[in-house]
Symmetry: C2
Subunit: 460 residues, 2 copies
């Protein structure tokens, strides 16, 4: 299989973009979810165009090989981990901006462009692409689309799907189709665009996207930081914000373990201020922004904040969010991180965090919590020391327990990272057998041979 495959690939892909050396195969064999299974692929193709993607898919389909598409490989669920007899097809070289249209407020890009590059390019023309996964500096738009990535501001501005107007897609037999539209509205036919978003490369390979933009103007950045003694007080503050009818541009929670890890690294003294840090940002301009910031400050104080602080400038607002930005890298210094992504009803956040504390104790494992508290999306970060197989096994058990608890509280197994491989058991527990069967039917309709990223996104 491998010899014929490589001979045919060489005819359509130039040698410098067809990788077969063991180091390259290893480097492209998994995304950031090393905890999930992977094997080295047969080859790696660094595609340069939609036509090339189509040609490679056609070759795979006719030689019985599977395609594992990927962008920057920053996924956290194993969606881009290589499977047996697969070619990893990376779109990281396809980074072109094809059109920025300020009048219609959309941008057309190739899928391999980094979220941040897109963001900067449209900002020059006074436009804003809201979806801001924490990985925005290193993740591609194609990857964001494949996982329907969320982020911090999605509590107010929605997720990736809400900004995808149209897609160019390579189907499982190598055909190229244009889905969706460029107009602001449109309901012609099934929403195949929305079906493709979040399908993790199992139904088609997105090579280009038309993305809706918002005006950059009319927004100002303000922030409120509140330290709380414990999760219950912080949880009450979150509930009170919701009850006041305020939708902040972000509402993030950083727990004691994170604060401690940041302090151990950067000596900011954050963990002395309180046990839990709640960060809200407001982007309404002028007096309206001032009012909302005041209101949030008052709510934090009334909920028992041991300290509450308003930003005095846009720079200060950025500074207040420093602990949030440093938390993940600070924790990664402690050992491999297994990242959770459950989402629970907003009001269940304190109970869920309490259960996570229990789970950490019960399984004798270290768990830090970053949470998009405003929408109930929690990222418990389970840390196992390097080369400690026992700890690794206990981390996996804790991971399963957290999913089970989230489902029991009316939540979902994945809020924004995707199912990939790590969340297959969670998805099986979340949906009825018939809903899982519907996934199989849709997959069979679009990819009858199972060429595209088999075994991902839903339990086969």
């Amino acid at each position: 299989m491998s010899t014929e495959l490589l001979a045919r690939l060489r005819k359509v892909v130039s040698a410098d973009r067809l990788l077969t050396d063991p180091q390259a195969l290893a480097a492209y064999s998994h995304d950031d979810a090393e905890w999930a299974d992977f094997v080295p692929p047969l080859a790696v193709v660094r595609a340069a165009s939609t036509e090339e993607v189509a040609a490679v898919v056609l070759i795979a389909a006719s030689t019985g090989v599977r395609i594992v598409p990927r962008g920057a490989g920053t996924g956290l669920s194993g969606g881009a981990n290589a499977v047996a007899d697969s070619v990893v097809l990376t779109l990281e070289l396809m980074t072109e901006i094809l059109e920025i249209n300020p009048d219609e407020r959309y941008v057309r890009v190739q899928a391999g462009i980094l979220n941040d590059s897109l963001r900067r390019a449209v900002a020059v023309q006074g436009l804003w692409y809201p979806p801001d996964p924490a990985s925005y500096k290193i993740s591609t738009i194609g990857g964001n689309i494949a996982t329907n990535a969320g982020g911090l501001c999605c509590v107010k501005y929605g997720v990736t799907r809400d900004y995808v107007l149209g897609l160019k897609v390579v189907l499982a037999d190598g055909a190229v189709v244009d889905l969706g539209r460029r107009t602001a509205k449109g309901v012609a036919g099934y929403d195949l665009t929305a079906l493709l978003v979040g399908s993790e490369g199992t139904l088609g390979i997105v090579t280009e996207a038309t993305l809706k933009l918002l005006p950059l103007a009319g927004r100002e950045n303000r922030a409120v930081a509140g330290y709380f003694a414990d999760l219950v007080d912080a949880g009450n503050a979150v509930a009170a914000v919701s009850r006041a009818g305020i939708i902040p541009a972000a509402l993030e929670l950083v727990d004691r373990t994170c604060l401690q890890a940041v302090d151990d690294w950067q000596q900011l003294g954050l963990s002395q201020e309180g046990g839990v840090l709640l960060l809200a940002s407001v982007d309404e301009p002028g007096t309206r922004g001032e009012e909302l910031t005041e209101e949030l400050h008052a709510i934090f104080t009334a909920a028992g904040a041991t300290k509450a602080e308003r930003s005095l400038s846009a720079e200060h607002a950025e500074e207040l969010f420093l602990a949030r930005r440093l938390a993940y890298p600070a924790l990664e210094r402690l050992g491999p991180v297994l990242t959770e992504d459950v989402c629970v009803p907003r009001t269940a956040v304190p109970e869920m965090l309490r259960r996570i504390e229990d789970t950490a104790r019960r399984f004798n494992t270290k768990i830090a919590n970053i949470a998009h508290a405003g929408d109930g999306n929690l990222h418990p970060l389970i840390i196992a020391p390097v080369d400690d197989d026992g700890a690794k096994s206990r981390a996996k058990d804790a991971f399963d327990q957290i999913v089970a608890d989230a489902l029991e509280l009316g939540g979902t197994t994945t809020g924004e990272h995707g199912v990939g491989l790590l969340k297959l058991p969670g998805m099986l527990a979340e949906f009825s057998p018939r809903v899982i069967a519907l996934h199989r039917s849709v997959k069979a309709a679009l990819d009858p041979q199972g060429v595209l990223n088999p075994g991902k996104a839903f339990p086969a």
Copy 2:
């Protein structure tokens, strides 16, 4: 077929909700798109529960009968028109509100509830359901979901799909599934919820929906009205609003023919003020709202408005929109209205309106224009006098010409009404054969026997 069918239906549906008399069959044989084909159904079932819907679908599937689901029958594309050998299954009696959850900001309802009833019920708890199709007082949430209904405020707040978190659906074999979630975020598996939204009852019958809500608080209603000499000036004003980075809560255009029809009916003297009326609404509160209203007023004036007016109170803002609300009923007084629904790029609105004027002349037919100018969604209303077959035929030709022009300008055949039957040719022209084939594959995957609303939503 009919005898066995009725005998079996009588076992699961009580007699008062199983209609077979010719008058009832005629009344339920079509929606508001009488221009499209329809035949009387074999029977009408006014379903009372999800279980009953499931039982009826199962009977249909096993007797070779088709199901045409419907809500209030206010559709404008023929999506609910009865087909041969069909049972019309109306959900209009299923109007219950199952849960209003202010903390999580969602509502769970049965599909037959009117948009307006839902809107009022959640308002009592300080919550707001944004999607506001012009039919909101008479259309059901189930119908809104089936067509992915838009409305006036969707230019700022999005369409129905953006508010559907989860669905209870009866599948083509009578199985009942729960799709989606109740949490604010979630990406587990394919977005089957989004696939069902806008699928016009061809993939499943939505019996319950969980809908995301926004806080009612923090919004104030202001409006700006501008009269323009012609479409070019009004079009320039729309483009200038977009370029200023302002997204109004609504931006509506009402043309001379509409203004004249309103005047002929209500003697408001609107048509004396100018040729085209542009209406913008702003919902930011306080000084921010004042500022934006001023800015819009200045933009309208700079674009050459012959008269521009700001609202002085919320009531006055409502009054300024009176012409928009009266336009459709005023036109219906002139004869049967064939309603268009093309959507073009914002900047193409003036050119599209110019072409529509040409079309009216060329086909010797009366066409009035209401447009959601802010998102390029136009509703040319083609009016044919009663019992004038020649006029009716010319109206249909004009309808086709408008779709052709919209596609040529980079638009879509339907912005918010759905494909139904009337837009099948438009959809065929808009998408490639392979994209149409994808629709067929998805339909075959979910409804292999073709039980649910066959022949609608995409060309078979």
